[in-house]
Symmetry: C2
Subunit: 318 residues, 2 copies
């Protein structure tokens, strides 16, 4: 048995979760910090390092093989956060250098979508796979691409932004300023948008989604309604699954992976999303790939997925 532990840190706009992860992928302890209350990166990282030391003491762990940090705009090549819009410390934050003021442990930084892919590779359903792609459905759509057992970072470090591949030219306006990006259709936000569009088009519908004030309606409401058989909610997931199936078929034409993993809130809707998704994927997949790709749901436990992904970065093949 390997007794090595790693630290996984998931930096979100509101909270920072810090976890101690065993070699077999269990998060054995965790602590957190209120990200939003920090305006000084130096103090913020100093407090993170204190929490790590406390956690090691409490758990009687002497050595840590690495610290993996998943952060918005986290740059794998530089170890920095580059101008994240939802953090109070702006500009470039050199996490790697700041951690090393306090701890002599290797640090690996990446964005959360890439960390999710490594989490699946090291601790989840992609163990032993050479080639796979993950799609994380959240506020946006994140993705991570593994080829030959390594995450693809590309020239910029920003490879694998499939949420910003254009699905429908001249389609819905995206937060990035362009039109028709995948994430405007299949993120939680995109699902909400589809719901509002359909509610507008179907004044004769008086089901459960029509009862929710429009500014409160979320993709979770749609998921819950679909599970209860609500026809409008089912139609929304038919559309979402169809779009996602096209995007996944296109991704296969790129790297011909062994599997595609799905994660994130809307995936909890289950078969109401997965069934139309699989149908669309099959219909839109080029015949040369028939039968070569599995569509799977992430095998990481929901609560620990982000920490495990971050911890997995420490195992990243360079």
């Amino acid at each position: 048995m390997n007794n090595t532990y790693s630290i996984g840190i998931d930096i979100g706009g509101t909270n920072t979760d810090i976890g101690l992860v065993s070699a077999d992928g269990r998060c054995v302890a965790r602590k957190n910090l209120p990200t939003r209350q920090y305006f000084d990166a130096d103090l913020y990282v100093s407090d993170i390092c204190k929490k790590i030391t406390e956690m090691m003491d409490e758990q009687h762990v002497d050595t840590i093989d690495g610290i993996g940090i998943a952060a918005p705009m986290g740059n794998y090549y530089t170890g920095c956060i580059d101008n994240a819009t939802n953090l109070n410390f702006r500009g470039v934050t050199d996490l790697n250098a700041l951690v090393h003021k306090h701890l002599d442990i290797p640090v690996t930084v990446s964005n959360d979508a890439n960390a999710a892919a490594y989490g699946e590779l090291v601790y989840g359903g992609a163990k032993g796979m050479k080639s796979f792609i993950t799609f994380t459905l959240g506020t946006g759509v994140g993705s991570g691409i593994v080829i030959d057992g390594k995450l693809v970072h590309g020239k910029t470090g920003n490879a694998g932004e499939l949420g910003h591949a254009i699905l429908i030219p001249s389609g819905r306006l995206c937060g990035c300023g362009r039109k028709g990006c995948l994430e405007t259709y299949t993120s939680a936000t995109g699902i909400r948008y589809t719901a509002l569009e359909l509610l507008e088009k179907r004044p004769q519908y008086h089901g459960v989604l029509a009862q929710i004030p429009k500014d409160e309606l979320t993709s979770k409401h749609v998921g819950d309604a679909a599970k209860e058989g609500d026809p409008l909610a089912l139609e929304i997931f038919e559309m979402t699954g169809n779009w996602l199936g096209i995007a996944m078929a296109n991704a296969v034409a790129f790297s011909s992976p062994e599997a595609i993993f799905l994660m994130g809130g809307p995936v909890k809707a289950g078969e109401v999303l997965l069934k139309p998704l699989r149908e669309s994927f099959k219909k839109h997949l080029c015949f040369v790939y028939d039968g070569s790709v599995e569509i799977k749901v992430s095998e990481l436990p929901d609560n620990d997925a982000a920490i495990l992904g971050a911890a997995a970065l420490t195992k990243a093949a360079r």
Copy 2:
């Protein structure tokens, strides 16, 4: 100076070109065979090997470091041609085994689009690059993807079929049976189709393209007319460049390459295609990649490009 030579073989439906390639990427001798006249793969490969031996004798070359073969449906993993529809020997043709009946030289097989990418990497404009993508515009649209200095083959060996990524959901019918594939819009065939569509829509147009019988009209006519400033031809290339720019921006969101290389007949149209293409690429590229990717035209000499690509397969990193 490296005195090693390689053999590059380009198998087309009509002709098979066999070239002797020096280490510095010159095709110093070539021979060919009429592919269509062979119904027996054994005899066909035996004749190829005879030509190779003749060529080595004539050029006083003793050693060959490898034979690279670019073939329709050429499979990198197995060294076979898998059920190519445009060859008279059907089923699976084990090129690797057949060559080894006659010559004891390592054989590497791949499809022509992948060979083109290796040609660019080993002998062309991508020398020294780690990450790039090629688009070959021909009857279809072929592509090759290089990441970390290696061509991406994927689980099936068929990675990099970007001509069959869906650009416009429910768009033009493709030969593969699906709708909206990139190649229905931006191949030579796609350009011809766009021309016929526009001619139909513009009865008031009486320019040079209207004078050509519809069943004789080709993308080359459109290219020549565009260079002369014909407004309909220019509009066709505006549309083609726009579509290709979207597809390239989407490819960047996948692997964040250093460059994208364009090759094939329609690229000879030059700026009438490249200008709208660059504009569309810039418009559709996600901001995180701004300024990180060059769009370039292949630097391989037209006449030898296919042979050089095939020969480059012998240098393929495994």
